[in-house]
């Protein structure tokens, strides 16, 4: 399957060379035959015409409107290229399959840091052009070779104030303590965040969480298995809390404010010891709009006003250090990188997850089954 991408590149380079006169027609046709491209289907003009739009592959829901307003509008004003969406959710396997098949339809994917590292290693991504994207606008440590950490989200938890109002839980140790805080909990089903939370609850120091001792974490998770539910999507996590099925629920921090409002303040978000995940914008190799345009798009996503709009609309915390100080007061308790939270959270190690994530997820699913 790798051959297909290589042959496509070969045909494309040949077409560019032919158009610029460096390759004569006979050799070009021979090259096309070699690349398995029907000559009728190849017109040298096509190879030059990169798609004149940016397709962003994200997770749908609110994000379509939010990314459109926050990044799409200013980007289109500056470059004239419209922004389109694919909202089916860029899971690692889907991106890999798309690039392997040779039919790349997305320009930028709203994925995770560990996707950037894992897929970068296997050669499925374009390297980030840091001449266009400004490294100074990215928080230290999340400007990777094959991806840019544009936002941060976190795994935090919410607790029922009616059940624990006078003695609220303060961290993961309390979350896993079913004797002191009885009731059902909910955890993330795909291991990410759940494993780290179990380690912290078991006494591991915040800076020693990675590399994760997965068996130790699973022991802890199994200890509250009888009282646990597991959610796979944001709306499931939301429903379990809003319907009162759990007294303490792990959630994606960006949903925290919305759930608090929805339950009229009954459920409160605890950001202490939250696991901060860098969300990465990655570019599949051979993206239709070309390198330059998509790098400009990523650069736009890092601008302070776009970052703050994403925070306001989706709850995803900025990665641009310039924006940290500008986070509005009302959002500060809910943001990962606000002054009050940035020292309390645990930053995820995407390299460990890239290498060990698959095994961790399988071991986790095994343990909770």
């Amino acid at each position: 399957m790798q051959d297909k991408a290589f042959l496509k590149d070969l045909a494309r380079e040949g077409a560019i060379a032919f158009k610029s006169g460096r390759l004569d027609r006979r050799s070009f046709l021979a090259l096309c035959g070699l690349a398995g491209v029907a000559t009728l289907a190849v017109s040298a003009g096509d190879a030059e015409a990169a798609a004149n739009e940016i397709v962003m592959w994200n997770w749908g829901g609110e994000s379509e409107k939010c990314h459109g307003d926050a990044i799409g509008k200013p980007f289109t004003e500056k470059t004239g290229l419209p922004l389109k969406f694919d909202t089916s959710g860029p899971l690692q396997g889907k991106i890999k399959e798309m690039v392997d098949s040779g039919k790349v339809t997305a320009d930028v994917c709203d994925a995770d840091g560990f996707d950037a590292i894992a897929l970068g290693k296997s050669g499925h991504l374009e390297a980030i052009d840091y001449n266009i994207v400004n490294k100074a606008q990215i928080k230290e440590g999340v400007a990777w070779e094959f991806g840019v950490g544009v936002i941060f989200y976190g795994y935090a938890f919410m607790y029922d104030t009616q059940a624990f109002g006078d003695n609220p839980p303060k961290g993961w140790a309390d979350f896993y303590d079913t004797a002191k805080f009885p009731g059902k909990r909910s955890l993330y089903k795909w291991a990410n965040g759940s494993i780290e939370s179990a380690l912290v609850a078991d006494g591991v120091a915040k800076d020693k969480v990675y590399p994760c001792d997965v068996p130790r974490a699973l022991e802890k998770i199994k200890s509250i298995k009888a009282d646990s539910l597991y959610w796979g999507s944001g709306s499931e996590a939301h429903d379990m809390i809003v319907n009162g099925e759990v007294v303490m629920g792990m959630v994606w921090q960006n949903r925290g404010k919305a759930i608090e409002e929805r339950t009229n303040g009954r459920y409160k978000l605890v950001m202490n010891e939250a696991i901060a995940m860098p969300g990465a914008y990655i570019v599949p190799r051979g993206n239709p709009a070309g390198r330059e345009n998509v790098m400009k798009f990523i650069s736009q996503a890092l601008q302070v006003d776009s970052q703050l709009m994403i925070l306001d609309c989706l709850g995803m915390t900025p990665s641009n250090p310039e924006a940290f100080g500008k986070i509005p007061e009302a959002m500060q308790p809910y943001a990962v990188n606000s002054a009050m939270n940035i020292d309390k959270v645990i930053f995820n190690d995407p390299v460990w997850w890239a290498d060990n994530g698959g095994d961790a997820v399988n071991a986790f699913l095994d343990a909770i089954g």
Partner: protein, 284 residues
């Protein structure tokens, strides 16, 4: 006819069917086989993935759990379906039409909508629990949902039309005079049912059971939503291996296993009754 003419004669009807068969082979069977060969080649060539069935606890538990839930669903759905089909058989024609329409409409409602409807009815904060608490019968909500019980309820309800239709088709094919003859020879109602009617519906029961079992093997949405994340079945596991953990070899291996099992089961089904009946053709 001379022997030479016999052997060179191709049934002309094959030529009519050939284009469709070719289309299915090229566009459907070949790509599926292409993916399934991943089970032999990814990550290393050989039968390593298949060894996991015996070595890996996870895979074995998964298969057993899926089988257990599917068998329970089959028994429940076919039993309930039998009752419904029997009622429909003996109902007046216009009543039967109404029953059929209700069955069909529920059949057509999307599985996602139905799963969420179950959550609303039997969930923690749902109609049933709230009514029971309000009536003072219980103090804490009963755990109908977010566990294996909830999954079984959801799956049985979804499979009911699949069970009723083959049973009904079979029952309608039974000559009603047979039961009358049995009564006239002195058998009681119970005896007539047990010794005359029930054995005659055996092909229908087998067809319904196999249909329900095969369909429930591939269930994904209902266990994911109603199981609270704890009830993982084979279809969801395959999906996770494909998309999240990128273990394509394991996913292909499980998929091959499922397809082979289904084909074997359908071969078995064919021994008891013509497959065409299940898919809507006439009996025999």
């Amino acid at each position: 006819m001379s022997a030479r003419a016999q052997t060179s004669r191709i049934n002309p009807y094959w030529l009519l069917v050939a284009p469709a068969v070719l289309l299915v082979l090229v566009l459907y069977v070949a790509p599926i086989l292409n993916v399934l060969t991943l089970s032999f080649t990814d990550p290393k060539p050989g039968l390593g993935n298949y060894a996991k069935i015996i070595e890996s606890d996870t895979v074995a538990t998964l298969i057993l759990r899926t089988l257990k839930l599917c068998i329970i669903t089959t028994v429940a759905a076919v039993s309930l379906g039998y009752v419904v089909a029997y009622a429909m058989l003996h109902a007046l024609s216009h009543v039967r039409q109404r029953m059929l329409s209700i069955l069909m409409i529920s059949f057509w409602i999307s599985v996602l909508v139905r799963s969420f409807a179950w959550l609303m009815l039997l969930g923690h904060n749902g109609l049933a629990n709230n009514a029971l608490i309000a009536a003072g019968l219980i103090s804490q909500p009963l755990p109908f949902m977010r566990n294996e019980f909830g999954v079984l309820i959801g799956m049985t309800e979804y499979m009911l039309p699949y069970a009723v239709l083959p049973l009904l088709a079979n029952m309608q094919g039974i000559d009603p005079r047979v039961t009358r003859a049995s009564r006239s020879l002195g058998a009681s109602n119970a005896q007539t049912f047990l010794r005359v009617f029930l054995p005659l519906t055996k092909p229908g029961i087998i067809a319904a059971s196999l249909l329900v079992f095969i369909s429930s093997l591939g269930f994904y949405v209902t266990p994911a939503i109603l199981g609270g994340g704890k009830v993982q079945m084979i279809a969801e596991y395959i999906s996770v291996q494909l998309l999240v953990t990128v273990r394509w070899g394991t996913a292909a291996m499980l998929a091959t296993l499922m397809i082979t099992s289904v084909l074997v089961l359908m071969y078995v089904l064919n021994r008891f009754m013509k497959l065409s009946v299940v898919f809507g053709g006439g009996p025999r």
